[in-house]
């Protein structure tokens, strides 16, 4: 079968192999990991006719340059507003294109977004750990980080010319400054004015933004007293407050447990577009009920399924 091979000519920090992740192992200290923007990864795959959770390259703002050294292959790029340049020809993410041997492709940040996904028509060869290729960035376990001078191999590589062209970018894949969250589970340990500050004052993303989480600049949210809770489970999207009142939102490679109080947790459906925000961006948190957040998750799942089905219908 045909094989395609790429030489990695540049890979910024935090460029890793990701897939749909390995949920269900938090009780062993293993977070689900997987794409920071899960719908974008699924759409990149679906645009090629791949299973939605297939392994992709997750490109960070550090960017990526690949040279196809062997074979010919169709690729899809989805997520964020990145610049995709092939042999000097500029295009954008949310597109399907075909490379032949000798072609060079550069992916770098464009007008918006922090993460984009490069999917391959074929099977990207990547190390599995506990049933998934998703890279756990802190340990490097899983498919791993891309490094300068390394190679990527795709087995059963195909060109799928009929898939070429743009991928529609759903509006809910774009980040929004208003971010819904559910208060708790430890909001009761904060004075009313701290909860009010969380919901009424703007926060800004700092440059401390990686796969584990993002630290926010904004009002300090001091708990009622010097507070240490017994270590307990932490979910993706947890809004954690450290001893000095600084807020951090935990993301795909979060620690599975922690002893800092969590004043709130982002609505699951909004966690991925939140991850697409950039350092300096402003967020305004809005409290919704657990039930409202659950209905948002159901609505988003239906919207995602509809987009995936439309892409699957493409010949």
């Amino acid at each position: 079968m045909a094989e395609a091979q790429f030489l990695i000519r540049h890979a910024g920090p935090h460029v890793t192999i990701q897939d749909a992740g390995r949920p269900g192992l938090s009780r062993y200290g293993v977070p689900a990991s997987g794409a920071m923007d899960r719908p974008a990864l699924a759409l990149a795959n679906a645009a090629l006719g791949n299973p939605p959770g297939a392994a992709c390259v997750e490109v960070s703002p550090g960017g990526l340059q690949l040279e196809l050294t062997r074979g010919a292959i169709t690729l899809a790029v989805a997520g964020g507003g990145f610049v995709v340049e092939v042999n000097g020809q500029k295009g954008g993410s949310w597109s399907v294109l075909t490379l032949t041997a000798g072609d060079r492709m550069t992916i770098r940040p464009g007008p918006w977004g922090s993460w984009t996904y490069l999917a391959f028509a074929g099977a990207l060869q990547a190390a599995e750990w506990l049933g998934a290729c998703a890279t756990h960035s802190t340990s490097g376990l899983g498919g791993g980080r891309l490094v300068f001078g390394g190679t990527l191999t795709v087995q059963n590589a195909e060109t799928r010319p009929r898939r070429a062209g743009p991928i529609p970018c759903p509006v809910w894949c774009r980040p929004r400054h208003e971010v819904p969250l559910v208060l708790g589970p430890q909001d009761r340990f904060f004075p009313a004015h701290a909860v009010q500050a969380l919901l009424e004052q703007p926060f800004h993303l700092t440059a401390s933004h990686d796969r584990m989480g993002v630290r926010l600049d904004g009002p300090r949210l001091m708990p009622e007293s010097a507070l240490s809770i017994p270590s307990e489970a932490v979910l993706r999207g947890a809004v954690q407050v450290s001893g000095d009142g600084v807020v951090t939102v935990l993301l795909a490679d979060h620690q599975t447990t922690g002893g800092y109080p969590k004043i709130a947790t982002l609505a699951g459906a909004e966690t991925d577009r939140f991850a697409q925000l950039r350092p300096g961006d402003t967020v305004l948190f809005r409290a919704v009920s657990p039930r409202a957040a659950l209905l948002m998750a159901r609505q988003r799942a239906a919207q995602t399924d509809a987009c995936l089905a439309a892409l699957a219908r493409k010949p």
């Binding site: 949920p23 269900g24 192992l25 938090s26 009780r27 062993y28 200290g29 293993v30 506990l130 049933g131 756990h136 802190t138 340990s139 376990l141 969250l181 559910v182 708790g184 589970p185 017994p230 270590s231 307990e232 489970a233 979910l235 999207g237 620690q255 599975t256 447990t257 922690g258 947790t265 982002l266 609505a267 699951g268 459906a269 657990p290 039930r291 957040a293 659950l294 948002m296 998750a297 159901r298 799942a301």
Partner: protein, 220 residues
């Protein structure tokens, strides 16, 4: 199932996809037993849409798929489990873990507690530990049962680059590291026993609740 010292559990919704069942504000053997019992009962009788249950010192976080169920249904299921006595479990597994007591902090631990290094080793080796929970990083199992005579606060600043396989202690706990990571705990030895086993059928050596004893490598 809840002991006389425990308040009735609180059920706290977490975002769109979890219920945190909390048995106490602070750790105690009773709280831990209650968490363990509910964790076991849920494993025996999972509810539809269950993704995972994450045990910790005073609570169990029950994560569900919001497309398949909701907070009320999961809470109802958990209340049902709590209202029935837990099925009798067989005794938790006992693991023997190899250790070489050559950690760089062994002399400092001995000094701080007014012991000789040999006394530290004897106390650590005589203790029976049990796995309270995993946390922090893959395979980091918090082992309770460190004797009071060895209890020390964490170091004021974490030490970087502590290699995987280090046996570290702080408070009344012990831990075998699985990654090279910074830690503020005291390094008393190293272990060649892998916690991340590499065996797909049983990728982690311990289950929460399992018992653990340390055995000096090369001493039978």
């Amino acid at each position: 199932m809840t002991g006389p010292d425990l308040r009735p559990p609180a059920f706290r919704p977490v975002a769109d996809r979890a219920v945190l069942v909390e048995f106490a504000a602070q750790p105690s053997p009773q709280a831990e037993a209650a968490v363990r019992a509910l964790d076991h009962a849920l494993a025996e009788r999972p509810c539809p849409g269950l993704v995972e249950a994450i045990p910790a010192f005073v609570n169990l976080c029950v994560v569900f798929d919001p497309l398949m169920t909701d907070h009320d249904r999961v809470t109802g299921h958990l209340r049902g489990l709590l209202s029935h006595p837990a099925p009798q479990r067989s005794a938790p597994a006992l693991h023997q873990v190899d250790i070489t007591y050559d950690g760089p902090d062994l002399p400092a631990v001995a000094r701080a507690r007014g012991l000789t290094p040999d006394q530290v080793i004897a106390l650590h080796q005589a203790a029976e530990f049990h796995v309270v929970m995993y946390g922090f990083a893959p395979g980091y199992a918090y082992l309770a049962g460190l004797p009071e005579a060895l209890a020390l606060d964490r170091k004021p600043a974490p030490q970087r680059g502590v290699p995987a396989g280090s046996v570290i202690i702080a408070g009344r706990q012990c831990l075998i590291t699985t990654l090279t990571m910074p830690t503020g705990w005291w390094i008393i030895g190293r272990s060649a026993t892998p916690i991340l086993t590499g065996d797909p059928a049983r990728p982690f050596l311990f289950d929460p609740g399992d018992r653990v004893r340390f055995r000096q490598a090369g001493h039978g």
